[in-house]
């Protein structure tokens, strides 16, 4: 039963990942990528990592929908009315991706995996988190702050109207001068 679920999800993940590059519509390509991620989330649940699997489903659904909005907005031919591909240099990109797939796949079979010592832990997600982050918690927290600061900085740099546009040159305006009034009556 577990084997059947594994193969169905694994083939679905790989096939829909491949379809991302076959579809000529940006909407379909994005949804194909989402299906690939959902299948991967299912595989994580199958591994006993319930929390990670469900969070992958949750986050990837939101991310892919937002990505779809940007794909459609920025691609030249969003609806696929004229064929448009997600790749350049078809032969080269195909060769590289097949080579990488074979390399990673071979790695799975050739790597000397350690034998399990002891029984399966009660909560594998907790164990995985400790193994990944436990000794490097300071690094991870610092990294989190750096990433967050980068996001805020990117938004500040990209925003069209800064606070001087909204509140005047000496920031003395009491209510912001916005083209579209917001919901809290500022």
């Amino acid at each position: 039963m577990t084997d059947v679920v594994f193969w169905v999800l694994a083939l679905l993940a790989a096939a829909s990942g491949f379809m991302v590059f076959r579809f000529t519509s940006m909407a379909r390509a994005t949804i194909a990528l989402l299906v690939s991620f959902l299948a991967t989330g299912g595989l994580l649940i199958l591994l006993g990592l319930g929390y990670l699997g469900v969070v992958v489903v949750l986050m990837m659904t939101m991310e892919m929908v937002i990505m779809a909005v940007f794909m459609v907005a920025y691609m030249m031919n969003p609806a696929g009315l004229m064929p448009m591909a997600m790749y350049h240099n078809k032969r080269g990109s195909l060769a590289i991706s097949i080579a990488v797939f074979v390399l990673l796949g071979a790695g799975i079979f050739l790597a000397p995996w350690p034998q399990r010592g002891g029984a399966e832990p009660a909560d594998p997600t907790f164990q995985l988190g400790m193994a990944l982050m436990g000794p490097q918690m300071l690094t991870m927290v610092t990294l989190g702050f750096v990433l967050f600061a980068a996001m805020v900085a990117a938004v500040v740099l990209a925003t069209h109207r800064g606070r001087y546009d909204r509140f005047g040159d000496d920031l003395s305006r009491r209510s912001a001068d916005d083209p579209v009034p917001g919901g809290v009556g500022r």
């Binding site: 319930g50 949750l58 937002i66 779809a68 917001g182 919901g183 809290v184």
Partner: protein, 313 residues
């Protein structure tokens, strides 16, 4: 104490959810009849069933050059998400799935509507329906984070993502008493992910129905049923999260679960007619400037209470 029901009970969940949904839709039809001045009678109560039958046998509309694959997939997703979300809701002393991350599962299934409605709006190759789909994404950005913090608050109170544990932690005091902000924000989130009431913006009448604009026959039935299934699943989840689950004196647990779910549904159905539809950009600012700080403070308060008392009071 909530125990696991046998595996076949997963098949019972859709049936129970459908019965409660039918109750909600019937109540809504009766309220609509009263507002319109029509007699509030059995004929009005049967209205939704008649309409469902009509849609079931009605012809499906097709548009010029639709993206049929995404369109159908999106229409299906709304109803499927509602049913899947309900799998983790304990009813009385039983739950179909006692999964350890039930709260996250509920959240993830409700988020599937984002993809579903966007696809349903996009696939029809129609401006009004596409704008409706985009409206839901904009609304999603507004409602999702406050809703997540509300869910996290309940999980923090019980120190567990397992819905059964959350029910167990409310033996002495229901979470609604010391997490009122999270409860209200959660109910707003329920309206939002079922795009009903003040959050009917993606299917607004100003857009000739928005995502519903090009839908007829069984397609329309799937989405209309889906949003009511989501509303009912949301009301059902409010009971174990904030209202103590099947906890109550004298009567058996399943009766209390039924009464509480019906009470939450009644409030949602009644209030939905009293509130105007909110524009997503207006709600976005309210959500990010007011609701997110409020819900973070609520989660902090819950965490401090749990830390001080060593558990839920």
């Amino acid at each position: 104490m909530v125990v696991s029901a046998p595996l076949w009970s997963v098949l019972v969940v859709p049936a129970v959810l459908l019965v409660f949904t039918l109750a909600a839709v019937t109540g809504d039809a009766l309220l609509a009849a009263r507002t319109a001045g029509r007699p509030v009678a059995a004929a009005g109560a049967a209205g939704p069933l008649v309409e469902a039958t009509r849609l079931l046998v009605g012809q499906r509309r097709t548009t010029l050059a639709p993206d049929a694959l995404l369109w159908r997939l999106g229409l299906l997703t709304v109803s499927v998400a509602g049913v899947l979300a309900a799998v983790v809701i304990p009813f009385g002393g039983m739950t179909a799935s006692r999964m350890s991350v039930g709260v996250v599962w509920f959240n993830a299934m409700e988020v599937l509507t984002w993809a579903g409605l966007w696809m349903a709006g996009w696939g029809a190759n129609s401006v009004l329906s596409m704008v409706g789909g985009y409206r839901f994404v904009a609304q999603g950005l507004a409602y999702e984070l406050p809703l997540m913090f509300a869910l996290i608050t309940a999980a923090t109170g019980a120190q567990s993502l397992n819905v059964a544990d959350i029910v167990g932690a409310q033996r002495n005091l229901w979470f609604v008493v010391w997490m009122p902000v999270a409860f209200v924000v959660y109910l707003a989130g329920v309206y939002a992910f079922s795009f009903l009431g003040p959050f009917a913006y993606p299917a607004g009448t100003d857009l000739a129905g928005g995502v519903l604009a090009e839908l007829s026959g069984v397609d329309r039935l799937m989405v209309e049923a889906g949003r009511w299934l989501l509303l009912t699943a949301g009301a059902g989840m409010a009971v174990p999260l904030f209202l103590g689950g099947g906890d109550g004196p004298l009567l058996p647990e399943w009766v209390w679960s039924t009464l509480k779910t019906l009470a939450v549904l009644a409030v949602l159905v009644w209030v939905r007619r009293r509130l105007p539809t909110l524009r997503a950009d207006r709600y976005l600012e309210l959500a990010w400037v007011v609701l997110i700080p409020l819900t973070i403070l609520q989660a902090l308060a819950a965490a401090l209470v749990v830390l001080t008392l060593g558990g839920a009071p």
